[in-house]
């Protein structure tokens, strides 16, 4: 069982027998008032979304999902293909089911695919992924300590802010929970 304080973006819970994923999450607590957990929930089977505000007394069932390690192969016509590396079985997820995760998936990335019975519904990424920088302005030297950022793009076409010294062709580590730059990776 989860309590309201466990609620966060991407948590999967069960409501009326269906698995739901929290796609947006806001914690608020007006002065001296009670904690409010505002969630936008998406039904992982039919994609329907709704918003609801929960309070701290409420509890939640974890979604009854099975995880299986699979490898991301490729995307074609908004279908994302994953393979079980032991059985070579392949499954497909839609762009909608993959969601933000597409920003962080390079070919051959190991991920957890979520199954509801035999049906693949979603994906859990590793917390950190390494991706190659494909677009970045050149570094004006001496800018490294001011705390400024510059926009860059990585191989998945995901755009983010990074320190000024990051250059094209370098590999960087990104936190998939926040979408933020963490560090450069030397290979």
């Amino acid at each position: 069982m989860y309590s309201a304080s466990d609620l966060r973006k991407n948590l999967k819970i069960q409501i009326d027998g269906d698995p739901y994923v929290i796609v947006e999450f806001t914690f608020s607590k007006p002065g001296k008032g009670q904690s409010l957990y505002r969630c936008k929930l998406k039904n992982m089977i039919n994609g329907n979304q709704f918003e609801r505000t929960f309070r701290s007394v409420e509890t939640f069932e974890p979604a009854n999902l099975r995880e299986k390690k699979m490898q991301y192969l490729y995307e074609e016509d908004n279908q994302y293909c994953f393979m079980d590396t032991e059985t070579y079985d392949q499954i497909y997820l839609t762009e909608d089911q993959v969601g933000d995760a597409k920003n962080y998936m390079s070919d051959n990335l190991d991920v957890e695919i979520l199954f509801f019975g035999e049906k693949p519904l979603g994906i859990t990424l590793p917390n950190f992924v390494d991706l190659t920088v494909t677009k970045a302005e050149p570094w004006a030297k001496g800018d490294s300590v001011t705390g400024r950022t510059k926009p860059i793009e990585v191989e998945t076409a995901y755009a983010l802010q990074a320190p000024p010294f990051v250059e094209e062709g370098e590999k960087i580590r990104i936190d998939t929970r926040t979408g933020e730059y963490l560090t450069r990776v030397k290979e």
Binding site: T26, S28, K29, L36, T53, L182, T183
Partner: protein, 308 residues
């Protein structure tokens, strides 16, 4: 290992934060306030239904320095301030972090109306020291800090901005929800700081009841750019009434399945010596968010719990 970028990028914000705290100290010292330090670890916090403390070896980390500062007031320290870390369990979000910084100050012989003015004077002083004169840009909206600041009672705010009256909202236990979803967002549009005042008595456990309107307590909050920055009262000084209010809060805690806190007996026994006073707590991190144009409280503290 590469330099920690999360820390590097906060450099400007941390400088603004430090300058802000220096300006606060100067404001109070120039006005003959005594800076005090009270313990962070205490046997029990003031019992309030929705404020939860973090246990610490049988005692608790304070959720505000309120009880100890009022005992100082009662002992004859009429103008005191403190800048201190406070701790609240389970509070984490864009505007919340379980360990945060409060500026709290008290003054004898003034009421919450005068305290509103002093709060405005403080924030204008801090803003000027950071080079802000007329308006501050915050997240795409202007906040005009020139006098007079907007003042609106809780009752009027519900009349103006909400689909239900404050009485109906309380009955259906939707007061907090309506504040967050219907009222607070409208404060942004006013483009000036807003004092929201005269809260229902049940929502001001340590505040004095208003003589001319016994349904409300003399409590106010300050909003800037939609952010709640300040909570203040004309302090309740009647020990018997304070005990009854605490007992009511304890019952509410019990009803919500929360453990009651030990009754703060020393505070209650000294309260009768406390002169009429007003006290106020300002969220230092949130004010730093305004002056650094930050979306998240994480941007104005060096380390979040997740960074440790």
């Amino acid at each position: 290992m590469e330099v920690n970028w999360t820390l590097t990028r906060k450099r400007d914000a941390l400088h603004v934060r430090a300058a802000m705290i220096r300006a606060m100290r100067k404001f109070f010292m120039d006005r003959d306030y005594l800076e005090v330090e009270t313990p962070s670890r205490i046997p029990g916090i003031a019992p309030e239904c929705h404020i939860d403390a973090i246990p610490s070896d049988g005692w608790y980390l304070h959720t505000s320095p309120e009880l100890c500062m009022k005992r100082l007031l009662a002992a004859g320290y009429p103008r005191i301030f403190q800048i201190t870390r406070c701790f609240r369990r389970g509070e984490r979000g864009l505007l919340h972090i379980p360990e945060f910084t409060l500026l709290e100050w008290y003054e004898s012989d003034i009421d919450y109306r005068r305290m509103m003015e002093e709060c405005e004077e403080l924030i204008v002083h801090v803003a000027r020291s950071l080079g802000h004169e007329g308006a501050i840009d915050y997240r795409g909206e202007k906040i005009d800090i020139r006098s007079p600041w907007e003042r609106v009672s809780v009752r009027d705010a519900f009349r103006r901005y909400s689909s239900v009256s404050v009485e109906k909202a309380l009955e259906s236990n939707r007061f907090d929800e309506i504040m967050v979803e219907e009222i607070e967002p409208r404060f942004k549009e006013i483009q000036r700081p807003v004092f929201l005042y005269d809260y229902p008595v049940t929502l001001g456990a340590l505040a004095r009841v208003k003589k001319t309107d016994p349904e409300v307590a003399e409590r106010f909050e300050l909003y800037m750019g939609g952010l709640e920055l300040v909570n203040a009262f004309s302090e309740l000084t009647n020990a018997a009434e304070q005990r009854a209010r605490f007992e009511e809060e304890q019952r509410n805690r019990h009803k919500s399945g929360k453990t009651p806190y030990p009754m703060p007996e020393k505070f209650l026994s000294e309260l009768s010596n406390m002169p009429e006073s007003s006290g106020i707590a300002l969220g230092v991190d949130r004010l730093a968010m305004i002056f650094t144009n930050s979306e998240s409280i994480d941007d104005v503290v060096a380390f979040t719990p997740e960074d440790l």
